[in-house]
């Protein structure tokens, strides 16, 4: 008697897209006269970030990333049988963005398509769905698009978040693994909605509709100009949450996988900013050579930060068969998720 083993899934290809406009530290320093371009870079590790055009949405950017994926890999829209779109900036309240993407990308009408609304943990959550669909035999060529335009939520006078976030998109193709060793697995999840207010755009949903009153700007106690319609981040609470949960998540992944810290070739953390990543890296005792960073000229692109790092590692030829990585996503929700990837 034998049992059919579940099909294993692997990350076949990653492509990215960045909008054209560059917002440099020099431009920010002109606006915030108590900061210099050098100080912003020293604290955040970010020199510039990209900003979507006024008429360019997360959906548009996601489509551009997917087109880059099709243009640079041996895969066509006809091959895709499931689409997952992860974003917090849908074009419309309804319909589902993924349905519109099916049409604009000319994906087959037989495709399954859905949105997931998650931020910095979204890529790993998307992977977990893709792996489940593949291992259960439900689908086999899954397009996971992550895309966000936080710049549209951020007040121009809010230096606390404007320095950190950039717009960007990634398209990742997940397929059944060909090599017997490659596999995406060992997922750990976490959710703490009690911290929902620590990273929030309060208005525009059903709970608090936007009004002229919610659009009224005020100066907060940290000297930032913002309104209720803008992105709010409690940096201290997010730092505490991250330092509390992410190292525990990494330990749990190691226990689940039966691997030691040194067995990983890469630990790809959500690319929040330099000081947060360095605090995490030191706490988790990860060698700098195993913690790839990519935010200097793109900032924090929310759910796309991890695929941006993966795309860079692929381009540099650093990802070869047998390499092992852990992916660690964490942020708005509060929500976190991590997994292992064997290439």
């Amino acid at each position: 008697m034998h049992c059919a083993l579940p099909v294993k899934a692997s990350i076949k290809a990653v492509a990215t897209y960045l909008p054209e406009r560059i917002l440099s530290n020099e431009e920010l320093a002109l606006k915030f006269d108590d900061w210099t371009a050098e100080k912003i870079e020293q604290k955040t590790g970010i020199k510039s970030r990209r900003i979507a055009a006024l008429d360019e949405t997360a959906l548009d950017m996601g489509i551009a990333a997917a087109k880059n994926l099709f243009a640079t890999n041996d895969v066509s829209p006809d091959d895709i049988d499931y689409l997952i779109f992860c974003s917090q900036a849908p074009d419309f309240i309804l319909p589902t963005s993924a349905c519109l993407i099916q049409d604009r990308l000319n994906l087959p009408k037989s495709v399954g398509a859905l949105d997931i609304n998650l931020g910095c943990s979204g890529f790993v959550y998307g992977l977990s769905l893709a792996v489940s669909l593949i291992s259960s035999g439900i689908a086999s060529n899954i397009l996971l698009i992550t895309s966000d335009t936080y710049s549209k939520f951020i007040n121009e006078g809010d230096k606390s978040v404007r320095t950190l976030f950039g717009d960007g998109a990634a398209a990742t193709l997940i397929t059944p693994a060909i090599s017997t060793s490659s596999k995406i697995g060992h997922f750990i999840f976490g959710t703490d909605g009690s911290g929902g207010e620590d990273l929030m755009v309060k208005t525009g949903g059903a709970r608090h509709p936007r009004t002229s009153s919610t659009a009224t700007e005020y100066l907060d106690d940290a000297g930032n100009v913002r309104s209720e319609d803008n992105l709010y981040m409690n940096g201290g609470a997010v730092m505490n949450f991250t330092l509390r949960e992410v190292p525990k998540m990494f330990t749990a992944i190691q226990e689940l996988a039966g691997w030691e810290r040194d067995d990983f070739d890469f630990v790809v953390m959500h690319q929040a900013n330099l000081f947060m990543l360095e605090a995490l890296r030191k706490k988790m005792k990860i060698d700098p050579s195993k913690a790839p960073y990519y935010f200097t000229d793109i900032g924090n692109t929310v759910s796309s930060t991890i695929p941006f790092v993966l795309a860079k590692l692929f381009q540099e030829g650093q990802i070869t068969p047998g390499k092992r990585a852990s992916l660690l996503g964490f942020g708005v929700g509060l929500s976190w998720a991590g997994c292992t990837v064997e290439f």
């Binding site: 604290k43 606390s160 940290a222 000297g223 409690n234 940096g235 201290g236 609470a237 730092m239 505490n240 330092l243 509390r244 000081f275 947060m276 605090a279 030191k282 706490k283």
Partner: protein, 70 residues
């Protein structure tokens, strides 16, 4: 508390010798970014979680020392 002084000196971008218990935080650019960095410092040195409100209530380095020891 030498490590605390060294860490705070790093955050305030001054020499550790310039830091003492009576150092006024307001004189040292005690902004939200400095507070977030201090949260990471407390975690690293003392394995302790402090919130922004507790840090906002601090006036001098000795207040931070009390928070670290409390």
């Amino acid at each position: 508390m030498d490590e605390l002084y060294a860490g705070l000196a790093d955050i305030f971008e001054i020499d550790p010798s310039e830091i003492g218990s009576s150092t006024e935080l307001e004189e040292e650019n005690w902004d939200s970014l400095a507070m977030v960095s201090t949260i990471a410092l407390f975690d690293e040195l003392f394995g302790k979680e402090v919130n922004i409100d507790a840090l906002k209530a601090c006036r001098t380095v000795s207040d931070l020392e009390a928070l670290a020891g409390a």
